[in-house]
Symmetry: C2
Subunit: 323 residues, 2 copies
């Protein structure tokens, strides 16, 4: 279930996941948008695999209504635990974080409390996978809107844990190590200092977190959220930091929603590989990628992104947005 | 006009092109689809910058109707020739190849003859830029359909010439050099031999070209077209080879159109950097990337693509398509 292939020329990694061809078609393509009732709604728990985590009243039975956030295995996994033992056979874990029992489609409209519960789900699942030695890296990510690749409209994120270190994570880790060796400083710590000093790419901040537009954004209004103190692993976030993260994520997504009418977006958490202890060179962070324009032939052919909105201008617009 | 930025951590290259924010909005987003008349239609030549190439009757005046294929500078360029001389200022050339005087939207429906004229436009423009020493690489690419990033529906391709070697081209060239050093053979020549031998990923062929599904396709039904003999530079293609390329491109796009109802797609030509002479390790080719699924949070966060259709199955489906 899921075969990892690596291009001998470029090192490009591809997971061939034949079972996923049967999943619902993308939104807006005559697919799942019209399909009601939705399998993620409260009352339809039997239509998903059994839950592996939920936020629900103590003592209430699993896979029944009453939950606020619910995590279930993905019904159409890119990878599963049932590896054949062949090296190319990629066994992994693919889960869905259902972010609300109601059929809502815009996470930006949620309360800070609901955001906080979603972040607790991320932390619990990442912590649970930390010591599974078959796994090497876990990515928590979200696709909101058909133009950001969502196949079901009901708000949800995903967690995909891999038995290998993915290409762009490896590149980022390597770069961070080199930066630390050259500067005796974490790159991300330096990034925040520089950004706050010059004011140009800074969006907002609270006690524990800062949001900024990176210097080389792939997409218009791309925004990163970073802990202000040096912190390597997302799953070591304590409760009060998670509450502040919920506040800033909600604020940034609401600001973004004001730039255009709730644009589609992706976000993901970059954290240390599973099982690794805190490192002086690496700083976990969240990258939010609005999908207002889109990657096309030029981007696929060159690896270079063309972005029509300078990050200094994007940050200004985001700071000025009235929420 | 266009600033190149490079991420110090990952080497990621981004072109900040502020002027492009004013171009027409993507198709299907309340943008250009509804805008008639179209600036690419015959009779509207005055709405584009003056043509730099056209296929039209000998002696007929430029920028008037009568052309079959017309090349004009992009009105909303990612890069222009007017660099300020600053190193980060990326000066380049951005052109549009208008593929038909009529308001058509599907290149797959064209005659082989029209395809051939389009390929002549590609070759002429690449040859014209070959000796411009300010430029390092030129990518010819096409976006067909809103879901492949097209902003105007009228059939067109683009050429973007850059003053630097883009990231994924550099990676491919480097891999090709290493493969040649290790095997005393061109990787792409070996790829075709292997594919034709095992039959599994072979799609079609004619006298000069072969089409195959690569072993590590990023997208479902990704198909590459390669010259059968070792050839480094697209712009050194002679007329009879271009005619055979027109035949096989049309055939592959028509086969692809049968898999789903004319899916959106990107294609691009990978050829040697401008000004470089033929090389034993590099073989030009065209990569066609259907956009049936799409890159989302997982792909952007990891650099790894999940593909639900194995290339062996894709090739079988494409071979079996009745056209």
């Amino acid at each position: 279930m899921g075969e990892l292939r690596k291009d001998p020329l470029t090192g490009r990694q591809v997971i061939i996941a034949a079972g996923r061809a049967e999943r619902p078609r993308p939104l807006g393509h005559g697919g799942a948008e019209a399909t009601e009732p939705c399998p993620f709604c409260a009352g339809h728990e039997a239509e998903t695999p059994p839950e592996v985590w939920s936020d629900r009243p103590a003592g209430s039975p699993a896979d029944r209504p009453g939950w606020n956030v619910r995590v279930v295995p993905n019904k159409y996994p890119a990878l599963t635990r049932d590896g054949s033992g062949k090296e190319s056979q990629a066994s992994g874990v693919h889960e869905v974080i259902i972010e609300s029992p109601a059929h809502l489609t815009q996470i930006g409209q949620f309360s800070t409390e609901q955001f906080n519960t979603i972040l607790h789900a991320y932390r619990s699942r990442l912590a649970a996978l930390r010591n599974d030695h078959r796994l090497r890296y876990a990515l928590v990510y979200k696709n909101q809107g058909a133009d950001a690749g969502a196949t079901l409209p009901h708000v949800h994120s995903q967690l995909l844990a891999l038995p290998f270190l993915p290409e762009s994570v490896a590149t980022e880790l390597q770069g961070a190590k080199q930066f630390f060796a050259a500067n005796q400083r974490c790159y991300f710590c330096a990034l925040m200092d520089g950004t706050v000093e010059d004011g140009g790419r800074y969006v907002t901040a609270n006690q524990d977190f800062a949001a900024l537009c990176p210097d080389t954004p792939r997409f218009a209004f791309e925004t990163w959220i970073l802990p202000k103190i040096h912190w390597s692993c997302f799953d070591q976030c304590h409760d009060s930091a998670l509450a502040n993260l919920a506040q800033i994520m909600r604020e940034v997504l609401r600001r973004l929603g004001r730039i255009q009418d709730n644009p589609p977006f992706n976000y993901f958490i970059h954290t240390l590989p599973l099982g690794e202890a805190a490192a002086p060179h690496y700083h976990w962070h969240i990258e939010i990628l609005p999908q207002i324009g889109r990657a096309a032939g030029f981007e696929w052919g060159t690896g270079v992104h063309i972005n029509a909105v300078a990050p200094e201008h994007a940050a200004q617009r985001l700071r000025d947005a009235v929420i």
